[in-house]
Symmetry: C2
Subunit: 343 residues, 2 copies
């Protein structure tokens, strides 16, 4: 039986082994990805990002428990820590999580040791997600630390992106979030029993006002699924496709993950976002964007590989030497290597 067949049959050991091969970008891993690809496209991908100290991991654990117990969904968690490019520090996190979720065959948790991600972090994560998708996991949670470009890239893989905040993390951290707001589908204030929660909520609302100025009037009326249509007519929006469902304003959800507070409401909010994605057509738009990014990355890789095969090492070293001596510029070097002339 092939790897991919075993995975389609729900073999956990085969799954774990393939994930390692995929993470190492091995030939065998690639072959399996090709076989599995037709079976992908069914899972709901949820991105969770936020600064250290916001309690993201606890929140992800609680969300996973909720989906298991209340909705009987199969859950995969991919924990990515782009801030540890060398040490693969996420491994300990795995063990801590396992106390809540271990032993459940319908939960699979995997940390990305970013050291091994040869094809780029976002690319490796995308590949891992594809394996879980093909293996029949209903919800795949992609958890990343921080707010840098890597996190943004990773978050863009998801259908629904949660940005997690917490009260009292300081002004600097608040300032950073101004950028990441634009990728948030749902804002979560975790540790919402802490002092300062009102200030955090106020700050987020102000930032939302800035980010969605034209929709301001609807923003302070609770559910983000309420639309202009709702507001004026006072009745629920129709379920079928209509302009009324096209707008999504990120709602703010408050949670205390360690006490399991607010998790049901957060899951409901995520559910509303899925309905929105389906009705507005954004689900397909995000799928297309994700696949296009992946295709682009593979094209780059193939082009570079072909270049490496065509240009001999001595020539490359010779040209690099000329650049180091400032005899030619890097642009002239590229022309020399690709076209055999300097201009």
């Amino acid at each position: 039986m092939t790897h991919s067949q075993a995975i389609l049959n729900g073999d956990r050991l085969a799954l774990a082994r393939l994930l390692t091969k995929v993470e190492n970008n091995s030939q065998e891993g690639r072959a399996a990805l090709m076989e599995l690809f037709p079976h992908t496209g069914k899972a709901h991908l949820i991105g969770v990002t936020g600064a250290p100290g916001t309690g993201k991991s606890s929140l992800v654990n609680q969300l996973a428990l909720h989906y298991r117990k209340k909705e009987d969904k199969r859950i995969a968690i991919v924990a990515v820590d782009p801030s540890s490019p060398f040490t693969g520090g996420a491994v300990l996190g795995d063990r801590v999580r396992m106390r809540d979720l271990s032993g459940d065959p319908n939960v699979f948790i995997r940390s990305m040791a970013t050291r091994g991600s040869l094809g780029g972090l976002a690319q490796s994560t995308a590949n891992m997600v594809q394996v879980f998708d093909a293996a029949g996991f209903d919800v795949i949670i992609i958890e990343t630390v921080g707010a840098g470009q890597s996190e943004v890239d990773v978050a863009r893989l998801a259908h629904t992106t949660l940005v997690v905040e917490a009260p009292g993390l300081g002004d600097d951290i608040q300032a950073i979030k101004a950028g990441i707001l634009e990728i948030a589908d749902i804002l979560v204030i975790n540790k919402a029993d802490r002092p300062g929660v009102e200030n955090t909520e106020k700050a987020l609302k102000s930032m939302l006002d800035l980010a969605h100025p034209t929709e301001r009037v609807f923003q302070h009326h609770g559910s983000a699924m309420r639309t202009p249509f709702d507001q004026t007519q006072g009745k629920p929006a129709p379920k079928q496709d209509s302009s009324a469902t096209l707008m999504w304003i990120p709602p703010i959800q408050k949670t205390v993950a360690v006490e399991s507070k607010g998790i049901v409401e957060l899951a409901e909010s995520i559910g509303r976002h899925v309905v929105h994605l389906r009705q507005s057509g954004d689900w397909a738009v995000r799928d297309r964007a994700r696949l296009e990014v992946e295709l682009e990355a593979l094209i780059h890789e193939a082009l570079v590989k072909r270049f490496r095969e065509e240009v001999i090492q001595e020539k490359y070293e010779d040209v690099l030497g000329k650049v180091m001596q400032r005899n030619i510029s890097p642009w002239e070097a590229v022309n020399l290597l690709l076209n055999g002339r300097e201009q």
Copy 2:
């Protein structure tokens, strides 16, 4: 007079204009970079990175003031904030800095609005640095926020990388630093008048022990320029090339930037690192690595450009459509686009 000639002559306005062109990756910017390239390779590039809240900007300001007043050097500062991919949040920071350094024609401060960095953040930063280098700035400080892969990439541009810590930023943030330690040439504990400074120093020393286990015995003896030779002979290491100067253990420097404390000592430490780089040959090694990364990026870009010119848009859309329908995998799509066949 050409742009580049004006810049070589010290024209600030021409410099500012060219930086914008370079940041936007315009044709004119590229042409100027090619002209300026032979004039590069003289500046000392200092990378400064650290989490939000460590006071990096104040530290960079103080360091710049020191270099101006005590060493009469021309200073450029490139402030990069990869955590704000959308909003270009670093602009306000410029104005705050300017109170200390404005009006001095030998100081030039530039923020990277990452929105405009078409060729990738590290690439754009490298180009900006080249312009400053050609324009005759002696020291170019590249400041980045955080500890993600982007920051690591940016830090790798520098000859000397400072990683800035501060007491009391929490365990989470300490944990992140385990990875970034490996890029640090000098560790700075800023805000060293705060409670908890001993713990921060202890934690950093433990991490250094882990990172440099074989050199442990020399680590607790003060200056990082002391070598095995020094310790046993009790006299300074010889100035000429010798194995005794090949080893560099990141020293820990304590500062209180807002009170200008520890800045002289930090500058001395940086000076020792420059001596080490020159004597060990690492200066050339780092220059080569930087230029090679740049050359690679330009090769990638040229390859993708050629691909875009060769593959017609309809074909690309057709293939992408097949991937979205899960009829072919992304790998098959690449083969179709590059070789005209699926395998």
